[in-house]
Point group: C2
Amino acid sequence: MESNQLAMKEKIHMLTDGNVTTPKGYTAGGLHCGIRKRKLDLGWVYSDVPAQAAGVYTTNIFQAAPLKVTQESIAKEQKLQAIICNSGIANACTGDQGLQDAYEMRRHFSEALGIEEHYAAVASTGLIGELLPMEKINAGISQIHDQENNGASRFESAILTTDTKEKGIAIQFEIDGKLVSIGGAAKGSGMIHPNMATMLSFVTTDANVSDQALSQALKDITNKSFNMITVDGDTSTNDMVLVMANGKADNDELNPSHPEWNMFVEGLNIVCEILAKEIARDGEGASKLVEVQVTGAVNDKAAQAISKSVISSNLVKTAVHGADANWGRIITAIGYSGQQLDPDKVNIALGSIPVVKNGIPVSFSEEDAKNYLLEDTVVIYAELGDGDGKATAWGCDLSYEYVRINASYRT
Amino acid sequence: MESNQLAMKEKIHMLTDGNVTTPKGYTAGGLHCGIRKRKLDLGWVYSDVPAQAAGVYTTNIFQAAPLKVTQESIAKEQKLQAIICNSGIANACTGDQGLQDAYEMRRHFSEALGIEEHYAAVASTGLIGELLPMEKINAGISQIHDQENNGASRFESAILTTDTKEKGIAIQFEIDGKLVSIGGAAKGSGMIHPNMATMLSFVTTDANVSDQALSQALKDITNKSFNMITVDGDTSTNDMVLVMANGKADNDELNPSHPEWNMFVEGLNIVCEILAKEIARDGEGASKLVEVQVTGAVNDKAAQAISKSVISSNLVKTAVHGADANWGRIITAIGYSGQQLDPDKVNIALGSIPVVKNGIPVSFSEEDAKNYLLEDTVVIYAELGDGDGKATAWGCDLSYEYVRINASYRT
C-alpha cells in the first residue's frame, strides 16, 4: 500500500456498530409487508434533505424494472432523498406491468414521505419473472410514516434474500475540520460476479460533494470493490449501488480540486470494500472469505482479469473448501485468464506459505497449508514478475451447501 | 439441420461397439505401470504405417510438457504413427525436468515400437506439478511389445482419471466406393471448459486425407464440438485432440475439392461431437447431459457465446440438478453473455415446454417441467429472434458429488 494511503487510513475511524443512519440527517427502517413468509421484506432509507446521488447498475442486458425507474429519478437532478427496497421478488423480466409496478412503488413511497417523486429510488431483489404483489407493497408503504425511524438494522434485514447476516458499516473522519460520516448497507449471497451481481449496496454520507465528482468516484471505486467479488459467476438483473451525499457535515463542497478530496475517496473506498468483502464472505453456502492478491502483472487490468479468473474457479473454490493446498488449480486458472504473462516467473503463496516459485512447485508442509486453509479468511498471493500491475479480488469457497441452496431455491 | 447434412447423416453407419481400432491398420492397448494404485494408467494407439496427423491444444498459457513434445513431433512431417498416454500425473508445471521426461517417454516408446521418434506423440493427464515416475513408465513401455494389441477398451480405460466410464465410438461410411472408418476415444471429467479442457481425445481413421485439409477440418470441428462443452469452467494445461489418418481405406486423397469431402468432414464432426457429449455427460458428479441450443442470434459467434454462458452458469446447473424449472437463471445467463440481443424477443423452452415468450414468462405445468428435468438428457432452447446465428453447447448439472470429488481430489 502507498504510504499516503496508509496515512489516510490512520485518520479514518471505524464504527463497528455504524450503519446508514450514522451520517447526519438519515433515518432508516424496515417492515414485513407479506412478500416473504415471515422475514422483513420492505426497507427504506430517508434523508431530511435532498442529497446528491449517484448509482451504478448491472451490466446484464435484462435490467430489472426498478433499475430503470431509479436511473430516471437520478437523471433528473442528480439527487435522491429516499430509497425503498423490497426482497422476495426481483421485478425482473416482468414486461410493461413490471415497469408500471416500479413506477407505482416509487409514487406511493414518495407520497408517503411527502417528497418529490424523482427524489425517490426503488430497488428489488428476489425471484425473477414474478410480478410484485402491489397490494401488499402499497399497504406496507402506508405504514412507513408511523415506523419511519425504526432502525437501520431493520433496513439491513429487510433487503436480504439468502444472506445469513445483515451487512452494515460506518466510518468517520474529518474534512475541513468537520466530522464526516459514511455509512453503508448491502445484500448479496447468490448470483454474484464481477460487474455487479445480485447485490444491492446503499451508501449514505453527510459529506457535501459535487454531483459529477460523486458519480465518478463511485464508478472508480465500484470497479475496485463490488466488481471484484464473485460468488458463483452469475451477474444478476437487479444489481445496483446507490450513494447519497446530503451535505449535512457542512464541509466545503468536495471535488477533485479540494485538498482533502482523496481522503473522502479513500473513505468511500473503504466502505465499499468492506461491504464487498462481507458479501463475498456471506456467499451462498460459503464457509470463508477467499482473497486473491495479484501483483507484478503487466498492468492493473491484467491483474484484475487474473485475480478474477482465480477467484471464479470452481476447482480452486472446492479445493479451498476441502482445505486442500491444490496450487495446480490456482496456476491453471492464472493460465487460462487470457492475459499476457511469463509462466516461468510465477510465484504463488497461500498466506505466508510459498507453494510455487518461478512456475514450479516448492516443497511445503501440507499440514501447515491445511491449517491455513481452514482459517476464516484465506489469502492467495500470485506475484507474476512481469510489471507493476496489481489487483485484489474476493470470493468464497464452493460447498455442498451452495448446491443444496441452489438446487431448491425457487421451489 | 440443413437437408444435405441430414442426407449425409443417413449414409453414416454408427458402430455401437466401435473404437479407435475399427479403422483398418490400428491396434491399441493399455496396462498398469504403477502410477495409479490399481487402475490401468498407460495406454497406446498404433498404426501399421505412418499416418497424416493433426492436433489442437489447450489455450492455457501453462501448457504441459507432453503437449510441447507432441507438437514438435507433428511439426516435422505432419505425421504420427503412435500415441502413448499416461493417467495419474499430468507432467504440467514440471519445468525442464518435466520436458526431459516427456522426451524420454517419447524416445522409449518409439524405440519399443521400432518407429521414427518424431512419429510418436505423448500425452499425460492427472495431477499438476508432480514429476512422472520415469522408472515405472519405462518399465511399462518395455511391456508394450508383448501386449501390443490387448485392446482398445484397455486403451480407453488407461487414459481416464475421475471419469466413470470409457468413451469410445466408431462410424463407417463410403468414399469413392471404399469403406472408410473413423474411430475415437476420449477422457474428460473435470477442468472442462470451452477452449480445450482436461480432455484428451484421440481420433483414428483409415481415410486418405491431405495434411492441410485434415488440420483445418480438425480445427473447425473442434470449435463446434470439444470447445462447446463445459463441466466446470476450468481450462486445463494438458488438453489435446489428435487425429491420425493412415490412408488404408484406399480412397483418393481427400481435400476440399474432392466431391465427397463434406461427407468426411461430417463423419469427423459426428465422432468429435459424440465424444464431446460423452465427456459432458460424464462430468465430475454429473447426473445428466445438458444441451443448450441457441438460434436466432445476430450471428454464430454470438450464439456460441450465449450458449456457453448458459451452460457454464452454476445457477442453471444447480437448478437442473434440482429439477427446478428456474428459467430466470437461464435468461440471466443469456443477459450477461455480453452479446447484442433484444430482451423483448427472447423465447425459452425446456424440451418441448415453452417457459418464456418475448422476454416474459408464460404459464406452464411445473410438474411437466420437473419430470422433463429429471430425464437423462435435458435440452434448453433459446430462440432470440435477432438473426440467423445458431450454436449448441453441452454440459452437465452441478451436484453435491462435484463438490465432494473436488474438495478431496488431491489429498
